[in-house]
Amino acid sequence: MRLMKAALLGAAVAAAGLTVASGAQAQNEQFIPGLIYRTGAYAPNGIPFANGVADYYALVNERDGGINGVKILYEECDTGYATDRGVECYERLKGKGPTGAAYVNPLSTGITFALTEKAPVDKIPVISMGYGRSESRDGSVFQWNFPLLGTYWSAADIIMQHIALKEGGFEKLKGKKVVLVYHDSPYGKEPIALLEQRAKMHGFEFTPMPVTHPGVEQKATWLQIRQNRPDYVLLWGWGIMNSTSIKEAAAVGFPRDKMFGVWWSGAEPDVRPAEGGAKGYHAAMLQHGAGQFGVHADLKKFLYDKGKGVAKYDETGEVLYNRGLVNAMLGVESIRTAQKKFGNKPLTGEQVRWGIENLDLSAARLKELGFEGMLQPLKVSCQDHEGTRAGRVQQWDGAKWVVVSDWYQSDDKVLKPMVDAAAKKYAEEKKLPVRDCSKES
């Protein structure tokens, strides 16, 4: 009986908690949920990113007293990179704060897909910076999605442009073999459509090779690569899969400088475990690279010198940490943009959506924010939810990332028709209304 009582008591506490979870809140706060992962198979990459995001919000609160006086209320929820956990986190957090979630960063392509279905209903924009659905840059169909800074189609295109440049032009790719080693999930599959398109255009042979979650078992994949001798290997991995790929490449003697990772396969946790084997490995950059910039000085002054930083100060220049900063900054600036129209108060997701769609960061503004050298100017519009499609390529020299290319722009002549077709198909399948962007202000 004692056990029954304990069980009943526990159930009562749980029920009470679930119903009154949303307690008293301060009124002048803008709530931002953080769907991140600091545990599980993808934690090595999730942790630095989450640290960057958390630090930037803290910085805005510490340095500026919030966004025009509206404090940021930030709460993390660990998704473990699992879609259903991610959805649960989203549902749990979306209604918090005086106005609900301003926007959501799913930090997983799978979760992005799931939230894409929920965003129009809940009226909360989804920012998938450098990931997510490639066709979602079409704001006329995907009103609530913002794959800022670049989609996977852009990433793949930039890498192919870089390869073509080194080979001496796209026509030289004829007859070459390109292999894509990808994480077997929507994330890894995204670039395939573009690469198939490019292969058709330029006559190179393209082979996609899936690697099953979590990606520690790649022996067969790399034996095949050794036997087929492709000219280039593109890598679309995440978490431990990245370092494993590089190690296996070394083990079969595939030249690392012929390997190109996407920007999620180009951070320190991806190359360090492979030690010497990673030297020469290339990766695309989501604009920014590693290193410390203007904003880092503020981070040191307002957070780390006061012992309030989440990470260690020497780690704040790492690629994924910087990406966290960029990600948070774009969100904050979107809210700021929206405040110009709706007033300096906590905003709803719908209002913030307008802010993201009208986000316009000039070079001067980026410098002011301390992001000069990390980002190029970007301008989002109804038609273009990506904002910018620029990228560079970097190479690991054994100790640090070195930028080895100039800026590329993904080729809209190739991308735009694909985006339009895919968005149209989505709208038809789902029987969705299409916005007319020419009528938007």
């Binding site: 749980a14 660990d78 549902e91 459509a193």
Partner: protein, 355 residues
Amino acid sequence: MLYREAGQFKTTYGADQQIFPILQDRIFVLAVIAAALLVVPLFASQYLYTEILIPFLILSLAAIGLNILVGYCGQVSLGTGGFMAVGAYAAYNLWLRVPEANNLIVVFLFGGLMSAAVGILFGIPSLRIKGFYLAVATLASQFFLDWLFARVKWLTNYTPSGSVAVGDTSAFGWKIDTPMERYLFILAFVVVATVVAKNLVRGHIGRSWMAIRDMDIAAEIIGFRPLRTKLTAFAVSSFFIGIAGAMWAFLRLGAWEPLAFDINRSFQILFMVIIGGLGSLLGSFLGAAFIVLTPIVLNQLPGWFGVKMSTALLSHLEFMVFGAMIVFFLIVEPHGLARLWAIAKEKLRLWPFPH
């Protein structure tokens, strides 16, 4: 004094063979269903619907399906996720390709039937393979089906990412859209399915399953055909699981990829069946409630008490406490929550005079 069966006499065999022969049980169950139907919509928040009630109901249905196979027929399966995926993708393809069938009930039943067919196929080895060998062998179906839905492009309508999405869901012209509508629809479906499951397990088909479970050799000797009996169990079980999978995809996720039905899903549902109680339909519900609620509660518990904790530590603690609770419950009552419930009822019957 309230829970007494004394004085309730059965005068016909029909009366004795009702689902709930005791009057108070009948009233209680009807009250629960009525409350779920009428009272819950009065106060439930969206979070309660989408993250607790809907997952709970759908996974209860999957657990009932698995319980038929494991609890009633004694065939351990670790392939539940795969069969859910069959249901989900079959339903998706019917929904996509046959516009006339845009009726969730039709679509779900189709998902269930396809899943049953695949279940029969993967049930065939059960004639020769038993126990843990069978359990591990069913993983073959799990991994194969996962792979199939990730690779065969037609099944996902050639979407570049392999992730599919559904919209515009309705049944007989009723547009099932808001969380409350989805909840009510699922509730209705699950109640009907539970009654069907109960009818099957209390009839001669259910007895044939239990006979195979308790002693397969003796069952064969008194005339049951082992293969046919086992395949019926596989089919019925997969049917329920397939419907649950289709519901999970259509009414819970809306957009999904094969990872939504990976091996962790299989383990999750097996947990529900074991913690809830093998061979108990009530247990399937209790187990589902436990497995759905525990991680959510554990994750939020420190927050309710104002304890600030790093996200990582919180997640790790959630893992640890969840694991420990599973072990604890298995030690306290290996026959599951349903047995605890039965003991409580037994006590109630004697209350307030325990001797």
